[in-house]
Each structure stands twice: as structure tokens, then as C-alpha cells.
């Protein structure tokens, strides 16, 4: 039997999952990574993406919109918002994209001469859009 580690997925409103897992694929801000037992301690921020959890019983997936993960002896993912993938339908997804779009528009307005935050927001929006492709929903085109 493969080694397992404790995994907790919590959002501010509730705890979504707490189980022994074999590996977790995390959409890190600098790229996806897979965390397995005895991974070196790490803290990373998340980008919008799909969190793939592999347990003994199979694979569970969650769509997360951001947050961070702390990997020590156990793995805790603190997501800003996390939804089981099966619960994400076209409407929920579009609402998420709209949210990112609104945030992007606002950032663009606030920082007219500073490209840094605008680029960040654009990336966030693009990531959010990419999630749609990833989970097989028709992606909503952003206006940048």
C-alpha cells in the first residue's frame, strides 16, 4: 500500500475535505505541482485551477479560485473558494469568470500607469478562463 499523508481542504466558510491521501496536484502560482508524502516543507499561493486529490478510493477534484497551500507533515490547502468539480456547471463557472473580469476591470481603472497589478489581474482572469477548458465547459471569452 502506498504511503499516505493527512490532507485538509478548508475554505473560510467550511471544511471541505479531510482525509488520508496518496498525492495531491496543486495549481500553484508558479505552476502545477504534485505533493506526495514526505515532500519538503513548502508554502505556495494558488492560482485559479483544479485541485486533484488522489486517495485510496479514487480521485477527487475541486475547483479553487485562489488561496494558499501549506505543506509540512500534512498538507493544508486554504482556498478562498473551493467547489467540488461535479458541482461546477456552466453558470457557476461563468459567474466565477465574471468576478475575475470585474476585478480585472477595476484594477485597470485604479492602476492606470502601473502595469504590475494589471498584469497580475489579467493572469488571474486568464487562469480562470483556462479552468473552463480544463474541466470541459465551453470557455467564456474574456475581454482584456
Amino acid at each position: 500500500m502506498a504511503e499516505t499523508m493527512q490532507f485538509d481542504l478548508v475554505s473560510p466558510e467550511r471544511s471541505l475535505m479531510s482525509a488520508q491521501v496518496k498525492s495531491v496536484q496543486i495549481p500553484g502560482a508558479d505552476g502545477d505541482m504534485t505533493a506526495m508524502p514526505n515532500h519538503a516543507p513548502l508554502i505556495t499561493t494558488l492560482r485559479p485551477g483544479v485541485l486533484k486529490v488522489e486517495t485510496d478510493k479514487g480521485i477527487e477534484e475541486f475547483v479553487v479560485t485562489g488561496g494558499f497551500a501549506e505543506l509540512g507533515e500534512s498538507l493544508s490547502v486554504l482556498a478562498e473558494r473551493a467547489v467540488p468539480r461535479a458541482d461546477v456547471d456552466q453558470a457557476t463557472y461563468e459567474a466565477m469568470v465574471d468576478e475575475a473580469q470585474a476585478a480585472y476591470n477595476k484594477t485597470k481603472e485604479t492602476f492606470k500607469n502601473d502595469t504590475g497589478p494589471v498584469d497580475d489581474a489579467a493572469k488571474l482572469l486568464a487562469d480562470m478562463v483556462a479552468v473552463g477548458t480544463h474541466i470541459g465547459l465551453s470557455p467564456k471569452q474574456p475581454s482584456l
Partner: protein
């Protein structure tokens, strides 16, 4: 002596008051359970968050490049007091206690020559603060349409506060709310949120000695997490407040129900006595009338 009709009416009115307070108490009890559950569910997030932030903050420490949200603006001239209260009254001293603590703090800060600004969340807090410090109010956030407090509400408040911080409107922000101890006791609490304070991890704590890799680097993470920390703390405070409000209302309504019961007993005795007096009077009149014949 009040006449019988009046007494009867009063008893009827106190009885219907008792019915209302009793119903409110039961509603509050049901809501309290829900509010407590919500607070319970949010706890793991807040705990993990604070643990990670504590470790991060300790490792970045007082370096010159630390984000402003952590190190502050270097001054403490302008204080923002964020007063979180309920939208509704009839909950005992709940709103008044929070407002009192905030007022104390405001007076104290003004005595020291600082500038005080007040942001209120919840109608009752605004009303209470308006009386003494109306001119200091810089804004009000209305949550009366919110049935169930979500993280998004806390984020909205946090965004408002952070916007003001970025615009250099204040140096230090403190939130005021009531911590839920139990149904009969809620402690008004003041908590500084900007600059952020985190409990340093305890010695011997496993996370304290762990050397984390950071991806991206520590400061980028901190810059991302600190605004979230503000929202998280506000969210936790809102949930505590929600539970406290229902707890306070429950015990206030329990008292009211009991008082109404006592009043009904008293009025009933009075009613019976005066009824007896009227009967006695009538008897005397009849008897003395018969004797006169």
C-alpha cells in the same frame, strides 16, 4: 383602585407580550445554533491561516521591505475604529456594550491627541456612535440585506478598509466586536487588524522549527496573504458577533418572558382582589338595603 376592565386589558396585553418574547427567544435559540455551527466551521481555516501567517511574519520580521500591512506606516496618528454591531436591537446590552468599548477607546485616543475615524458595520452601531462621535464617522456598511454572513461580505468590508489604507487615510485599524463566551456572556473585544499582529508560534511547536520553501518568495506570498488575513479576521469577528447577538437576544428574551410571567401573576392577584372587593361591596349594599326595610 384601578377598575376591573382596565386590569383585564392589561393582563391580556402582558400575555400577548409574553407570547412574542417567548417566540423571539425560540427563534434566537434556533439561530444561535446555526450561528455557532458557522463559527465552528470557520475555525479550522482561521487557525491554519494564523499559524502560517505567524510563521511567515516571524521569518520576514522587521525587514525594511516588509509590506506596509505588516510593518505599518511608521506612525500611529490616525486611528480607524471599525465597529461591528448587529442590524437589529432587542438583544440586551449586546450593541450597547460594543459601542461603549469603542467610545472609551475613541475618547482615550482623542485625549492623546490622535485623530479618530469611525467606520460602522451594522445599523445599531451607527446609531450609537452618531450620538457622541457623529462627526468622526467616515462610512457605514449596511448588512441588513444579508441573511447569512458569507466570506464575500467580510471581503467587501476588508476591501473598503484596505482601500482607505492605501489612500493613507489612517495608520492603525482596530475592530470592535463581541466574542461569544456562552449564552449569557459575551465579551466586547477590540482587535488590531492593521498593522497585522499574529501570535508568534510557540517554542516547541512543530511548525515553528520547520523550514519552509516559499513559492513564489516570502514577500510575494505575504503581500498576497495579508489582505486576505484582514478579510479572514473580519469574517471570524462577524461570525463571533452573529453568535453573540443571538445569544444575547436569547437571554434578553428569556428574561423578558420571565418578567412578563411575574407581572401577569401580580396583576392576576390584583384583579382577583378587586373583584372580591366589588362583590363584598355589593353584598354589603344588598344586606344593608334589606335591613333598612
Amino acid at each position: 383602585m384601578p377598575n376591573l376592565k382596565d386590569l383585564k386589558n392589561r393582563i391580556a396585553s402582558v400575555k400577548s407580550t409574553r407570547k412574542i418574547t417567548k417566540a423571539m427567544q425560540m427563534v434566537a435559540a434556533a439561530k444561535l445554533r446555526r450561528a455557532q455551527d458557522a463559527a465552528e466551521m470557520a475555525r479550522p481555516y482561521t487557525e491554519r491561516f494564523n499559524a502560517v501567517m505567524g510563521a511567515l511574519a516571524a521569518s520576514v520580521g522587521d525587514s525594511d521591505t516588509a509590506p506596509r500591512l505588516l510593518s505599518g506606516t511608521g506612525k500611529d496618528d490616525v486611528h480607524l475604529l471599525v465597529v461591528l454591531t448587529a442590524e437589529r436591537g432587542l438583544c440586551g446590552g449586546f450593541n450597547a456594550n460594543i459601542a461603549k468599548l469603542a467610545k472609551q477607546k475613541a475618547t482615550e485616543l482623542k485625549g492623546k491627541g490622535k485623530t479618530v475615524k469611525i467606520l460602522t458595520v451594522g445599523k445599531k452601531g451607527r446609531e450609537a456612535m452618531k450620538r457622541d462621535f457623529g462627526n468622526l464617522s467616515v462610512g457605514h456598511i449596511d448588512l441588513s440585506d444579508v441573511k447569512r454572513i458569507g466570506y464575500a461580505d467580510a471581503q467587501g468590508i476588508a476591501k473598503d478598509i484596505l482601500g482607505r489604507f492605501d489612500a493613507d487615510e489612517f495608520d492603525v485599524a482596530t475592530i470592535f466586536y463581541a466574542k461569544f463566551v456562552n449564552v449569557v456572556s459575551q465579551t466586547p473585544t477590540a482587535q488590531q487588524i492593521i498593522p497585522a499582529t499574529f501570535d508568534a508560534p510557540e517554542e516547541g511547536d512543530a511548525t515553528a522549527n520547520m523550514l519552509y520553501d516559499y513559492e513564489p518568495d516570502e514577500e510575494a506570498i505575504l503581500a498576497d496573504l495579508l489582505p486576505r488575513g484582514v478579510a479572514t479576521q473580519i469574517f471570524a469577528a462577524l461570525l463571533e458577533n452573529g453568535a453573540s447577538e443571538q445569544g444575547a437576544r436569547m437571554s434578553a428574551m428569556d428574561n423578558a418572558t420571565r418578567n412578563a410571567g411575574e407581572m401577569i401573576d401580580k396583576l392576576t392577584i390584583e384583579y382577583n382582589r378587586s373583584r372580591q372587593a366589588v362583590i363584598t361591596n355589593e353584598l354589603i349594599e344588598i344586606i344593608s338595603g334589606a335591613e333598612a326595610l
